[in-house]
């Protein structure tokens, strides 16, 4: 670039202005409004806003919505992906909208961490029984169905996906470290978490600029949910909503594991669902990440096309677990509850959930979808044609629900902040456990 000296200031200023405008146009539009474009045709179509959260391809609704919109002229679905972060941003905003009676979409996604509170507030939701959706009961495992029934017996939520557990890993980086790359052999490397860390050290000895794992929080969650299954299927609250963070061995085991991973220098110190974490996925900042089924779409979405074929899926150390999974609900404030219920019904149908799994990876909670041969035999192209049907669908029917309390979202964020703080150096390792307990008490209070 040639800039004569005299005009330099002006040129730089205008270049800056141009750059600023470009960036500004990308960054706008964060607050959703309901002003959807409507055609001037005789029958005005109803627009149903579906609000979702999560990184990468999140709920995996892209193709399903395109299909619906092509087939239904009278009802158009518009997805509003609000943010990657559920506890810190999506859910607090949603609670405000629900409480204010305005702002929420016609169909809203709710993560398992928000369901305790959602159940305790039947007044927020439309009753899906009134729209004939009681008939869907046979489609879901009992626990997934029960969780969508509010305290007063109102049916408000239909199950979308469930967790399952695996480890996503980078074959190219494993090769660089001289490790096995085949998924069977990789799975055999780490029957336990101790062995997982040992392999991590071997990896770290060979590869300097990439860390073994993304950060402490993803694997902490994985271990927490595995251990919860051994400790009465509870995490931070017991089934009477008493805080049991300091009493539940599952929390301590998860914490100790996270602490060890961090102290051994095996983490890239990135907090999951942040921009830096997403960028780290793309730029190869870490070689493994804990992968419930829905995380496959997050990884592939964050990594982008350039990452295709570099990733694969192996089994998780320490046995199965069920982290995550969501529901769809229709807020009472929706002006089109009938159409919204139709959309929620469609998005949770066996056929839709099956295609979401084969396209993006989110494991269906719909039992008919789980038994679908297309699901059972599904392979994921992005992950080196990993047989995800075999990895997730086979164990899906045996997954146990984990109970989460009314204030789970707040406590989860407080605890993860301490664990992340321990990893990024702002909380000393020897003080972290006490602070974790203290902050959890504060957040639950």
């Amino acid at each position: 670039m040639m800039i004569s000296k005299r005009r330099g200031g002006l040129a730089v200023a205008s270049a800056l202005a141009a750059a600023a405008l470009t960036v500004a146009s990308c960054g706008s539009g964060s607050t959703p409004e309901s002003s959807a474009p409507t055609s001037s045709a005789a029958a005005e179509p109803v627009t149903i806003r579906v609000q979702t959260f999560g990184g990468g391809t999140n709920f995996g609704y892209k193709n399903a919505i395109t299909k619906w919109n092509a087939e239904h002229k009278d009802i158009q679905i518009k997805e509003e992906h609000l943010t990657d972060q559920f506890e810190q941003q999506y859910w607090p905003q949603m609670i405000q909208w629900l409480q204010a009676g305005n702002g929420a979409g016609d169909v809203v996604g709710i993560d398992e961490g928000g369901m305790g509170l959602a159940k305790a507030h039947p007044e927020w939701w439309a009753d899906l029984k009134e729209h004939g959706l009681e008939s869907r009961k046979a489609d879901f495992p009992a626990w997934k169905w029960e969780n969508g029934v509010a305290a007063d017996g109102k049916l408000f939520g239909l199950g979308t996906d469930i967790g399952g557990m695996s480890i996503c890993y980078r074959t190219d980086l494993f090769k660089k470290a001289g490790l096995a790359t085949d998924r069977e052999e990789v799975s055999a490397l780490w029957p336990t978490w101790d062995e997982f860390m040992k392999v991590g050290q071997q990896f770290q000895a060979k590869v300097k600029d990439t860390k073994w794992a993304d950060g402490t929080n993803t694997l902490y969650q994985v271990v927490l949910y595995q251990e919860a299954a051994k400790n009465g299927n509870v995490t931070y609250f017991d089934k009477d909503n008493n805080l049991i963070v300091d009493k539940n061995p599952a929390v301590r085991t998860g914490f100790d594991f996270a602490s060890k991973m961090s102290q051994q220098g095996l983490t890239a110190k990135l907090r999951n669902f942040t921009d830096e974490w997403a960028a780290g996925t793309q730029k190869g900042a870490f070689a493994t990440v804990g992968c419930p089924s829905w995380m496959l779409g997050v990884v592939s979405g964050n990594a982008g096309d350039a990452g295709a074929g570099k990733w694969d899926v192996a089994s998780v150390p320490g046995g199965g677990g069920n982290w995550g999974g969501s529901w769809l609900a229709v807020p009472k404030q929706s002006k089109h509850p009938k159409e919204a219920a139709q959309v929620a019904d469609y998005l949770t149908q066996a056929q839709t959930e099956a295609s979401i799994f084969t396209d993006f990876g989110n494991m269906p909670s719909n039992t008919k979808a789980q038994q679908d041969p297309a699901v059972q035999g599904a392979k994921n192209e992005f992950f080196n044609d990993a047989p995800i049907g075999e990895i997730f669908a086979k164990s899906a029917s045996s997954l146990q629900p984990v109970f989460l309390g009314v204030k789970h979202a707040q406590v989860k964020n407080a605890i993860e902040s301490v664990i992340q703080g321990m990893d990024d150096g702002s909380v000393p390792y020897d003080k972290a456990w006490q602070q974790l307990v203290d902050d959890a008490v504060k957040a639950a209070g």
């Binding site: 500004a24 810190q88 409480q99 890239a268 707040q410 301490v418």
Partner: protein, 286 residues
């Protein structure tokens, strides 16, 4: 009739100024859960706040960021204004261009700065790395995070303050400088003995404005952490304004947030008073 003509301002002020103020004061005396119950709490919220380490951490963060941002900003704006207060080509275009950062959306500024200060692939770490400095985690370490956010604030507001200083400088009568020049005063002497003292009213305005802006700092540190009001894993750069939003709209403890808002108001009054006293002495013999 004159009352009707001035009434729009007072109506708007009552609706958007007075009412929220009274409303906040009222609810600061209640234990008001936004998604639950409301109970009388008296001064409990205030007592709990004064004993809350998180609140004090937010106060320290806010004051520290204010100082790190404002002191260099004022000096820079002053010298920038002095430089712009001369005759040169394209004067208008260049004077206008110092305002550009201000009209840029804060989100855009945050996006750029977030990448500049990225830990692994950021430009700042890359440059520091060339001098052998190890990668700094700008979102995890307290003082570096303050500095990063302060640069973001300065980027946006230095030009704005410079323009106000410039306007102030142009009201200073030329003959004062001419007389000083005849008496043999150097340029530098003129700046210290004429410009600065004559600028005092402008300076008071700018400093008060910056105090209010600095102590209610919210957008920059929030966008610096993915739009998250936590301000770092352990609140390394959480400001009081972010603390209020977190308590009110994330923990749904509205009464507590309202009390914190009133304490912030007090903090601003104190800050403004200190700055006012300080600025009054600048360049002053009176």
């Amino acid at each position: 009739m004159p009352y009707a003509l001035v009434s729009p301002y007072f109506i708007l002020f009552a609706a958007f100024g007075l009412f929220p103020l009274a409303f906040t004061l009222y609810y600061s005396l209640y234990d008001y859960d936004l998604a639950g119950t409301t109970e009388w709490a008296g001064l409990d919220n205030y007592a709990a706040l004064l004993a809350d380490d998180d609140f004090w951490r937010a106060v320290v963060n806010t004051v520290a960021m204010f100082l790190i941002a404002t002191v260099p900003q004022m000096l820079l704006a002053l010298f920038l204004a002095n430089a712009l207060n001369k005759r040169f080509r394209f004067r208008l275009a260049i004077r206008m261009s110092v305002l550009l950062p201000l009209v840029t959306s804060v989100v855009a500024v945050a996006v750029v700065f977030t990448q500049l200060y990225a830990r692994d692939w950021g430009l700042v770490n890359w440059i520091l790395g060339a001098f052998g400095v190890e990668n700094t985690n700008w979102r995890a370490e307290r003082v570096p995070s303050w500095i990063a956010i302060a640069t973001m604030v300065d980027w946006r507001w230095t030009g704005y303050n410079a323009i106000i200083f410039l306007a102030g400088m142009q009201t200073i009568p030329r003959d004062l400088y001419e007389a000083a020049a005849i008496d043999g005063a150097s340029r530098r002497r003129q700046f210290w003995q004429i410009t600065l003292p004559m600028l005092r009213p402008t300076m008071i305005f700018v400093v008060l404005n910056s105090t209010i802006g600095g102590l209610t700092l919210f957008s920059e540190p929030t966008t610096f952490y993915n739009g998250n009001v936590d301000g770092g894993s352990q609140g390394q750069f959480q400001t009081v304004a972010m603390f209020i939003v977190k308590q009110g709209f994330r923990e749904f403890d509205y009464g507590y947030a309202a009390a914190a808002a009133w304490l912030l108001f007090l903090l601003i009054l104190i800050g403004a008073a200190i700055n006012f006293l300080f600025v009054r002495r600048i360049g002053g013999t009176k």
